[in-house]
């Protein structure tokens, strides 16, 4: 089994997954058309992925975070502690009753960290989805078109890329009224250029490929070639970038929350909680440490998973260990 074979196979896998179609049935009875194709491709990919320990850890963390985001309100010991205050038990260190301690209003930090998972994930998903929705079509158009259209799109992209993302997001968030929605919009408006550049490069490569030539020769329109044929081929790196982007966005959203241009109190936002804890440090170390650990863990999970996916998609780029 040669390595470059893996890329289209993962591509087809992801496309199929996206379309929610069942894969080809694993036939044991039929003669295999090409020699050397032993196992169904899906299993092969899973086996390869399972050998990559960091990626498996990343996938486990991500799965854990997603489950926590869904069931959070039911598993948190004090789900009412989003807005409640119990001044008699404020700033208690971690104990059996409050595993992560309590904050300045006596709220259970453990519960608030769990409850914060959902909004952190929602923000990340919304931002990355919006950024991809802007960036991917632009990259496709700029990559497939030639001349001024492509130039204009890519130069605008370059301008956005040249500005530090956090600064741009801060400026945008500052211009609009500070809220979680504003922060999300600002993050999406600063993250799309990464998708555009990525898809642009892929499209440029695929545009010169023979199957696109063949499609033109049999009467496929440009829109059909770009969206029905080039996009599915370019989607694997987009998925990798989106996965890493989820982690990155959680981090930047936390920074925005910390700086007061994201979530507003009393939302159980991780970044906001750390910001609120500043006055009680270093005595109430648990106040900042546990939300911080939550951010660390979530970002680490998405990055490890993204790295592992990238290794599957492009085996030539080995991660340095």
């Amino acid at each position: 089994m040669t390595q470059p074979d893996v890329a289209p196979r993962l591509g087809s896998l992801l496309v199929r997954a996206a379309r929610q179609e069942p894969g080809p049935p694993a036939r044991e009875d039929t003669t295999h058309i090409a020699a050397g194709i032993g196992r169904p491709p899906r299993l092969l990919i899973l086996r390869k992925f399972a050998r990559d320990i960091p990626a498996v850890i990343g996938a486990a963390i991500v799965a854990f975070v997603i489950v926590l985001a869904i069931v959070g309100p039911w598993v948190a010991p004090h789900p009412g502690d989003v807005a409640a205050s119990h001044l008699l038990q404020r700033l208690k260190p971690p104990s059996a009753a409050f595993p992560f301690g309590t904050d300045n209003l006596g709220r259970d930090i453990f519960s608030r960290v769990i409850l914060g998972t959902r909004s952190a994930l929602e923000v990340a998903l919304a931002v990355v989805a919006l950024a991809a929705a802007i960036g991917v079509p632009l990259g496709l158009v700029a990559g497939y078109a030639t001349g001024w259209l492509s130039e204009v799109v890519m130069r605008v992209t370059d301008v956005f890329l040249s500005l530090p993302q956090l600064i741009l997001a801060l400026a945008l968030a500052q211009l609009l009224t500070p809220s979680l929605e504003t922060a999300m919009l600002a993050l999406a408006l600063t993250y799309w250029p990464f998708f555009t550049r990525l898809v642009f490069a892929e499209t440029r490569r695929l545009r010169a490929s023979l199957f696109v030539d063949a499609l033109q020769g049999i009467g496929a329109s440009s829109a059909r070639i770009v969206f029905a044929h080039i996009l599915p081929n370019a989607i694997s790196p987009v998925i990798v970038r989106a996965t890493i982007g989820l982690g990155f966005t959680i981090l930047v959203a936390a920074v925005l929350g910390f700086l007061g241009v994201g979530a507003i109190p009393p939302q159980p936002d991780w970044g906001l909680t750390i910001s609120e804890s500043r006055n009680y440090l270093p005595d109430a170390w648990w106040y900042a440490a546990f939300p911080g650990l939550a951010i660390l863990l979530a970002v680490l999970g998405f990055n490890l998973l993204g790295d592992g996916l990238r290794d599957l998609v492009d085996p030539r780029l080995r991660r340095s260990r």
Partner: protein, 339 residues
């Protein structure tokens, strides 16, 4: 009247001239291309790399790269001037539906992320008019037809093949898939761009035999572009030799191979390993299309060149058997002047 129509060639290219603007000026990439393909026949277009073979195909199916201009000439397909059609008309009426296309490298000609059935049925779907018989029914007919075609091109286990991905097939099998895809929409003309070049010799032979049979069976006409005279000898009824963007000789394949007239055709045949006693090659290189002089383009490499060759282009002389030669040696006025 009906006879008149069916007697017109399926493809008739007259005096086609294309230029592309480069930084160093306009390059004449095609200059006086003539050929015509009669119905039910296979025309081979032969030339060295870079002589404009692929450009001719692109001109016919209208996928010339940006910057290429048609200076003069007509391309008639079934009597209709293709150069006058816009992109939409080409997509809906010509490409894929009436002209099938077999691209060069079967390893790369299929989209790697889709199952074979998905991509080939897609082509059939966009080229089939809505006949009001319901979508489901049409899908099933397409599928049946595709399976029958795949069986006809001798692909093993065609039903299962629809569910497989391109990388699961060998090169020869992929070429069979691409051929079936080109035939799926029942075209009248099939254009094949070096379809055997990327294959090994035994597979090549099988594909050539298959193409020959399919042309007879489906009543197709085929334009077969290649650099391999051996393949042409086996497959093509007619032959058109291209040199540096010009038609230098055309006629019946057997006739040209037995009695080549143009010095370039002679030299090309002499290079063929089966014929050459010693490997000689043709001295010199194909001239740059940027520096096309007023004379014959082959003159600098020609053993029979004389002074007049560098001064003016020869006239295309056509004998009564339809054999055309673009060389001063057969140029009637010059010939008369010499004797």
């Amino acid at each position: 009247m009906a006879e008149l129509v069916s007697n017109t060639p399926i493809v008739d290219v007259r005096d086609l001239r294309l230029t592309i603007n480069t930084d160093e000026g306009a390059a004449k990439i095609l200059d006086h291309i003539h050929f015509s393909l009669e119905r039910g026949r296979i025309l081979g277009i032969v030339g060295e790399s870079g002589c404009g073979k692929s450009t001719i195909i692109r001109a016919i199916i209208g996928t010339l790269p940006a910057g290429v201009q048609v200076e003069a000439g007509t391309i008639r397909f079934d009597g209709e001037d293709l150069l006058a059609l816009n992109e939409h008309e080409l997509n809906t009426r010509i490409r894929g539906s009436r002209i099938g296309f077999i691209p060069q490298d079967p390893y790369l000609a299929l989209n790697p992320v889709f199952q074979i059935g998905t991509q080939l049925l897609e082509i059939m779907r966009w080229h089939s008019p809505d006949d009001g018989q319901g979508r489901r029914d049409r899908e099933r007919r397409h599928r049946d037809r595709l399976v029958a075609l795949l069986r006809r091109v001798q692909l093993p286990d065609p039903e299962a093949a629809l569910e497989r991905y391109p990388h699961q097939f060998s090169g020869g099998q992929r070429q069979r898939l691409v051929i079936a895809g080109a035939l799926a929409t029942s075209p009248t003309l099939v254009i094949a761009d070096e379809p055997t070049t990327a294959l090994d010799v035994t597979t090549q032979q099988q594909i050539i035999d298959l193409l020959r049979d399919l042309v007879d069976e489906f009543g197709l006409s085929m334009l077969f572009v290649t650099h391999d005279l051996g393949v042409v000898a086996q497959l093509c009824d007619d032959l058109c030799v291209i040199y540096a963007g010009q038609t230098v000789e055309s006629g019946l394949t057997a006739d040209i191979l037995a009695r080549p007239r143009h010095p370039y055709t002679k030299a090309l045949l002499a290079c063929h390993p089966d014929r050459a006693a010693t490997f000689s090659g043709i001295p010199g290189n194909v001239p740059s299309p940027l520096r096309a002089g007023s004379g014959c383009r082959f003159a600098p490499r020609c053993g029979d060149a004389r002074d007049v060759c560098n001064e003016r282009r020869p006239f295309m002389s056509v004998d009564r058997f339809g054999r055309a030669v673009d060389c001063i040696l057969y140029d009637i006025p010059a010939g008369v002047a010499a004797t």
